[in-house]
Every structure is written in C-alpha cells, then in structure tokens.
Amino acid sequence: MKFIRKVLIAFAAMIVLYFLQSCSQNFPLDKDLTLKSYKLLNQDSVDVSFPSIIKNKITVMGFIYTHCPDICPMTTHNIQLVQDELDKEGIENINYVLLSFDPGRDKPEVLKKFAELRDIDFNKWSLLTGENDVVSNLIRRFEVTVIFTDSTYSDDGELAYSVMHTDRIALIDQDSKLRKYYKGSTANISELVNDVKRLGD
C-alpha cells in the first residue's frame, strides 16, 4: 500500500514538473520592467511614464522607426493582425505599443501620422518616443540593437540615413514582466494570440 502511495506521489510530482516546464517553455523570459521608469512622449505629445502606462494589462509591444519602408510596417501590421484576432474573440483589455528607436526624426506628430494612415485605434495603442538617451536605455532593456548607417545629406539638404535594427515584438504580462520575444516582421500571429490568451488565463 505504501509503495502504491509513493508511486502516485512521484507520478503527481512528475505531472507538476511537466506543467511548470511547459509554462516556462511558453514564456522563456521573466524580466521585471518596473525596476526602472522611463519618461517618454506619446503620439499626442503627452508625457507618459513607461511602464506605468502599461500597468495591469497584457501588452504587445513593437520596436520601429517610421522611415522604414519594409520591416517596421510589417511589424506594425502583424500587431494589428493580433489585435484583430483578439478583438474578434472579445479580448479587448490589451495594450498595443510601438516604441520608436529613431527619436531624432520620430517626433510625436510623425508617429501620429504613421498611425492614422494605418487606421490605428489610439484607445488601445500608444506610439512612444522621447529623448535619445532615454529611448536608448529603454530599448536596451528589450535587447534591441540599433545601428544608424549611411548618413548623408540629400540634394535638398535633409539628413538621410537608414537604420539596421533588431526585428522584434515583445510580450509583457499584467505585472509588467517581459515574457517573450517574437520576430516582428514574420511573427506567427496564432502563436502570439494564443500566448496572450494563456497570460490572461
């Protein structure tokens, strides 16, 4: 009888371990973002503090610059697809955030125009920019690398440059803990939607 009990306890422990391991595989990160605060501006030039603005909600966050014609619009579009799917399922209590890593050009009004052209809903979305050093420190928390390249002045005297950057979407939980990264431009929408739902369970 004792032997059977021991076997059952061992079996239960294995199930718990398997469950915990599965959870950590789904969400490989557990970085507390509340340890430091960052002063930023949103698309309406309103001062906001990160991560206070995402407090108590699951957040899907992308890293972009608006002069990017290809990768960053794909990342933005993918987050919009995630929102479409979640909205369809009635899951609406989600933050969608885009942080520009090119604050020199991406002023609030530029971000607002970028969003308006894509019919982005400002009730759920925040587009953020800020001082160079603040943005640099913040993107470092997300392990986003940015390399400014090919600086030149065009014929009309404007400074032109392109940016090499990490292609990233981040998933943050309700406790402002960073939980998972995805490749922004080619993110698997179903995976992201399911992960948001799992965090919400």
Binding site: T66, H67, C68, P69, D70, I71, P73, M74, H77, Q80, V110, K113, F114, L117, R118, D119, T145, I147, T149, S154, D156, S162, V163, M164, H165, T166, D167, S185, T186
Partner: protein, 133 residues
C-alpha cells in the same frame, strides 16, 4: 498576306514578354518612405533587366532589398534586377522591394499610384498600384 497574318497572330498570341502584376504599396506619410511590391515575369527567350523606376509621387525611387546581418535587419540598394528567361521574381515584404522615398503627399489606403518601370529590352512599362496594408 498570309505571312503578315501569321506574324500578327504570333505577336498576338505570344502577348507581353515582360509581365508585371499584383502590384501594391504600403501607406506612407508626406516626406517619408514606403515600399512598392509586385511580381515580374519574363516570358521571353532572353534575360531582361529592371534598372529604374519613376513616379510623380516621390522625389526618389530605388530598388532595395532587406537583409539580415546576425540579429539585425537592414536595407541596401541593389541598383537593378535581372530577370532570366522564363523566370518569375516576386518583390515582396521582407525581400526585394522598390523604396519610394521623400513622398510628395500622404499615401492613404485605397489610393492608386502610377509608376513607370524601365527595362533594358522591354522598355517602359506603366503600372498602377493600390495602397493597402
């Protein structure tokens, strides 16, 4: 007369040797950049080269490709695209694309924008691309 008719029929049946289709571009704000995508097919027996693109909607248009270098993504100008006989090349998000820079106006979803594509052999081909996301 029969000879002329045969020539006419061959030309008619063979159709366009360079075919550009499925063209579209993303929204973009005035002074900013966007990307044009399309598929180009070479139905001829010789290679052709797409070497320049024009549009009244922007001050600068270049052929680019997106590439990855380790963990970061970047873009570079590629100058031209050679389409081999029978080849189909897709300019698509995350790959080769036309970078439309310094837009003269906002491009909104549903807008239709004209472009002139210049090929070494096929010459100029005009297309109209719809803005969508």
């Amino acid at each position: 007369m029969k000879f002329l008719l045969a020539v006419f029929l061959i030309l008619f049946i063979s159709g366009n040797e360079i075919v550009v289709k499925d063209q579209w571009l993303r929204p973009g704000a005035e002074k900013m950049a966007t990307a044009l995508y399309f598929t180009v097919e070479n139905n001829s027996n010789e290679a052709d080269t797409l070497y320049s693109i024009e549009s009244d909607v922007s001050k600068m248009v270049q052929l680019h490709e997106t590439y990855s270098n380790g963990s970061v993504m970047g873009m570079r100008e590629i100058g031209q695209i050679v389409i081999e006989p029978g080849e189909k090349i897709e300019l698509e998000p995350g790959g080769k694309h036309v970078m439309v820079m310094k837009l003269k106006k906002d491009l909104k979803i549903g807008d239709k924008i004209d472009f002139k594509l210049h090929f070494r052999k096929a010459g100029e081909i005009k297309i109209t691309a719809e803005v969508k996301d």
